[in-house]
């Protein structure tokens, strides 16, 4: 199926990296659910799915740990596909696997009470409130430093439009013309793949690729969500058989590399309070860790603390599903323990992680682009005040 799908040496490093394995005593772990199940399924076609395979969050930390390059998490996603589910759960999962359609009717996410219970949604997990994107009057044709495409993912489009607007203001301030892509609400395919629907995922991704609207003049596709970032850059070529028309760069990395020194120097004027930083599991896998911390420090945050959490438990729509509520809570509790009731801002570049972590820790969570843009505006206001004060 994939390169290296039979390369497992049974070292168990994947097991040491799996956050669900530690929190859920029933969960068999990545080695058993991935390469071992895959080998058995090749020998015994029609093998039924293992219990608890659906408890995998698709964080991919197992895969990132594997020294033999086994696509552990992706084998598990295919394993999930062989589960038997009730028609209602299938319907729920079909809807959650298409967040781009949800984004066209964002109010749906608020479904509560008995209907939510009936379709198997967790009524305890916090849901997003609609905050749609406001399209700019007319996109700028070109900027002094070229054109970047801002990948406006389904979540941002429907529930955190302000993050895309903030990122666009910053990119413009740094000298770039910004194009919002894709034109319509479309998904990279991550949600469907994570839920064990790889074929659907590929179809969704193919439609997105077609509608992406990234042409030759575009220097980079800047992403706002860590999961979409990894899906486009790493998974599209390897698992979706899709080409990506320009280098894919997460917003934080782009900011660190491209924002001019004068921009950073202008930020020191506004106090930040305590800033926590969470690098999502998928960001750890597709990028690594340290860029958000560097961004917070570079932007002059007073005190920066890293959340020592592998995967927070949100995992896209995972925490919205009633059967995963318990594991999602246990995964998030570690963050709550570390924060210990302190107040501050949490920087995280994934909307669902932001929701879950703010519910677990009580912190105010926001996208780094929004935070940076506010600091820029706060600094300008502060500077304005001090110049005014000097004049009088």
């Amino acid at each position: 199926m994939f390169d290296a799908d039979d390369a497992c040496l049974k070292c168990s490093l994947c097991v040491t990296a799996c956050p669900v394995y530690r929190e859920d005593p029933q969960f068999p772990g990545p080695k058993v659910l991935g390469p071992e199940w895959h080998r058995a399924a090749l020998a015994l076609p029609g093998l039924t799915a293992a219990d608890h395979v659906d408890d995998c969050t698709f964080c991919q930390l197992c895969e990132a740990a594997c020294p033999a390059d086994v696509p552990v998490a992706h084998l598990i996603a295919h394993h999930k596909a062989s589960q038997a589910k009730s028609p209602v759960v299938r319907l729920r999962d079909a809807v959650l696997a298409r967040p781009h359609l949800m984004a066209r009717a964002p109010g749906l996410a608020g479904l509560g009470g008995p209907p939510a219970r009936w379709v198997g949604l967790s009524v305890e997990t916090r849901r997003p409130r609609p905050q749609p994107l406001r399209w700019p009057a007319e996109p700028a044709a070109t900027g002094a430093r070229g054109i970047v495409a801002l990948f406006v993912d389904c979540f941002t489009r429907a529930y955190d439009g302000g993050a895309a607007e903030a990122a666009s203001r910053l990119l413009k301030a740094w000298g770039y013309a910004v194009r919002w892509v894709p034109r319509e609400s479309r998904c990279c395919g991550a949600a469907a793949y994570a839920a064990g629907q790889p074929a659907t995922a590929r179809r969704i991704a193919a439609a997105t690729a077609e509608d992406l609207g990234v042409n030759h003049g575009v220097q980079a596709i800047v992403t706002l969500n860590a999961t979409c970032d990894g899906t486009l850059r790493d998974e599209w070529p390897r698992y979706f058989h899709q080409d990506v028309p320009a280098p894919v760069v997460p917003f934080a990395a782009f900011a660190l590399a491209e924002a001019p020194p004068a921009f950073w120097d202008s930020l020191v004027a506004s106090p930040s309070g305590l800033v926590f930083v969470h690098t999502t599991c998928r960001a750890k896998v597709s990028q690594g860790e340290g860029a958000l911390l560097a961004l917070a420090r570079r932007a002059g945050a007073d005190v920066v603390e890293r959340l020592d959490v592998e995967c927070c438990g949100a995992a896209g729509s995972y925490a919205f599903k009633a059967e995963h509520h318990g594991v999602a809570q246990r995964l998030g509790r570690r963050a709550a323990g570390q924060v210990g009731g302190r107040s501050g801002t949490l920087l995280v570049d994934s909307g669902t992680c932001a929701l879950h972590l703010s519910q677990m820790t009580g912190l105010y969570a926001e996208h780094p682009a929004r935070w940076l843009d506010q600091r820029r505006r706060g600094s300008e206001a502060n500077l304005g005040r001090s110049t005014a004060a000097r004049r009088t």
Binding site: L9, C11, S12, L13, V15, T16, A17, Y21, R22, E23, P25, P28, A64, A65, C66, P67, A68, D69, R233, D234, P237, P247, K284, V285, S286, Q287, G288, E289, G290, A291, L293, A294, R297, R306, D308, R334
Partner: protein, 413 residues
């Protein structure tokens, strides 16, 4: 000229140690890796030199004085090692694992009840100078990796040895391995369960009794549990490392990585495709990552890593891609020796030729030594100038000089 930034490939112990030295010296550091290193397979101890042709090495300080020549350590061996172990002690302290650096090898017991030499260990791990006056070896029902009766064989001597076995905890089932045990004992109910069981099973016991457990005392709350047990039982409690994966190595890796990140080191995940002339590397997905000279600490026992050929080229061992070439003027023959120079950087860890930590029992030492060599090539004199690791001052060790010892004098313990 000192570079402002350095890229280290590999997040095994050699890569992390190189990153630690560079970050402590104030350089900007990028660590790139395509997978976990071997640390989660370790028990957490750092071996110095355990074996020489099948014989136990009693005093590794002296062994290195005698055999340093073949590893380019030469006559400076003792001073160099003193420096490196002093730094390592400070790293341990910074990571909440304060353990003294011993003057000679101590011994531990394997799950099969054999004695084996051991040098530096974290505070929770068993390491002895002499047989204890009394030992209680405590097993866990269902944890087949650790049979107390077998382990007890390793303590036979003048002291009293007794064996005990704790029953299954409430939620236990057959599939529990050490990671699961660790996660269970990290929870409040798990810690309460263990304490109650130990109090009940051990009773008062003889004075000075040492309690030996399999290595399962939690992953993220080990220190709290360890201290709690020692206080409550009023005895020393020590763990014996089990077959991989190892909780000790997992604890060490988690603390070390968290500290490096908090110190500003950037971690990047991905496989290296090429070393860039301009500095840093390129990943297989095309991303340019890192800056400055490159140190390769790519290990290799698990199938990944970089193959260094005699013609001085470095090749990615999984995908067979060319990574880089020896620097101009380097003797290709040296590609098979320690501290090879690739570009402006160096090579560290077990992939350096002549290292065979599994046979020699010198894994920890190999990582310290080779990482220090590689770092010194990038910034000459860095290791000797380093005065602190994070908030901890590097206090130079005082290891008394003994007479030279040949391996013939070493005997099996």
């Amino acid at each position: 000229m000192t570079p402002g930034a350095v890229t280290v490939v590999g997040r095994g112990p050699a890569g992390l140690f190189a990153a630690t030295l560079l970050a402590a010296a104030g350089l900007s550091v990028h660590v790139v890796s395509s997978s976990s290193g071997t640390l989660p397979l370790w028990s957490g101890r750092f071996n110095f030199r355990d074996w020489d042709q099948g014989m136990v090495v009693d005093n590794p300080w002296d062994w290195w004085m005698e055999h340093g020549e073949q590893h380019f350590v030469g006559g400076t061996a003792r001073a160099r090692w003193r420096r490196l172990w002093s730094i390592w002690r400070a790293v341990g302290q910074q990571l909440g694992m304060d353990s003294a650096i011993p003057e000679r090898n101590r011994w531990t017991v394997t799950p099969l009840g054999r004695r084996r030499p051991v040098f530096w260990t974290p505070p929770w791990e068993l390491a002895l100078d002499r047989a204890p006056v009394a030992v209680a070896v405590v097993g866990l029902e269902g944890l087949l990796d650790f049979e107390p009766e077998l382990v007890a064989d390793g303590f036979q001597g003048p002291g009293a040895v007794r064996t005990l076995r704790l029953p299954w905890p409430p939620d236990w089932h057959r599939g529990w391995n050490t990671v699961r045990w660790g996660a269970f004992l990290d929870t409040g109910s798990g810690a309460d369960w263990l304490e109650q069981q130990l109090v009940r099973a051990l009773g008062r016991g003889p004075a000075g009794e040492l309690v030996v457990l399999p290595q399962v005392l939690g992953l993220s709350r080990t220190d709290v549990l360890h201290q709690r047990l020692e206080r409550r039982l009023d005895r020393l409690v020590r763990e014996v490392g089990l077959a991989p994966p190892g909780l000790g190595g997992m604890r060490l890796e988690a603390r070390w990585t968290a500290w490096l990140l908090s110190s500003g080191v950037q971690m990047h995940h991905g496989r290296v495709r090429a070393i860039r002339d301009a500095g840093g590397i390129t990943l297989t997905d095309g991303r340019p990552v890192g800056e400055g000279p490159v140190i390769l600490a790519t290990g290799g026992i698990l199938g990944g890593g970089v193959c260094l050929s005699a013609d001085g080229t470095g090749v990615d061992a999984i995908h067979r891609r060319l990574l880089g070439q020896l620097a101009e003027g380097d003797d290709p023959a040296r590609a098979l020796q320690w501290g090879l120079v690739l570009g402006d950087g160096g090579v560290a860890g077990r992939q350096t030729a002549g290292c065979d930590p599994d046979v020699h029992g010198d894994g920890g030492a190999v990582c310290l030594w080779t990482a220090a060599e590689a770092v010194d090539r990038v910034v000459p004199g860095l290791v000797d100038r380093l005065s602190r690791i994070g908030t901890v001052e590097v206090a130079v060790l005082d290891v008394s000089v003994r007479g030279p010892q040949t391996h013939k004098e070493a005997q099996r313990v």
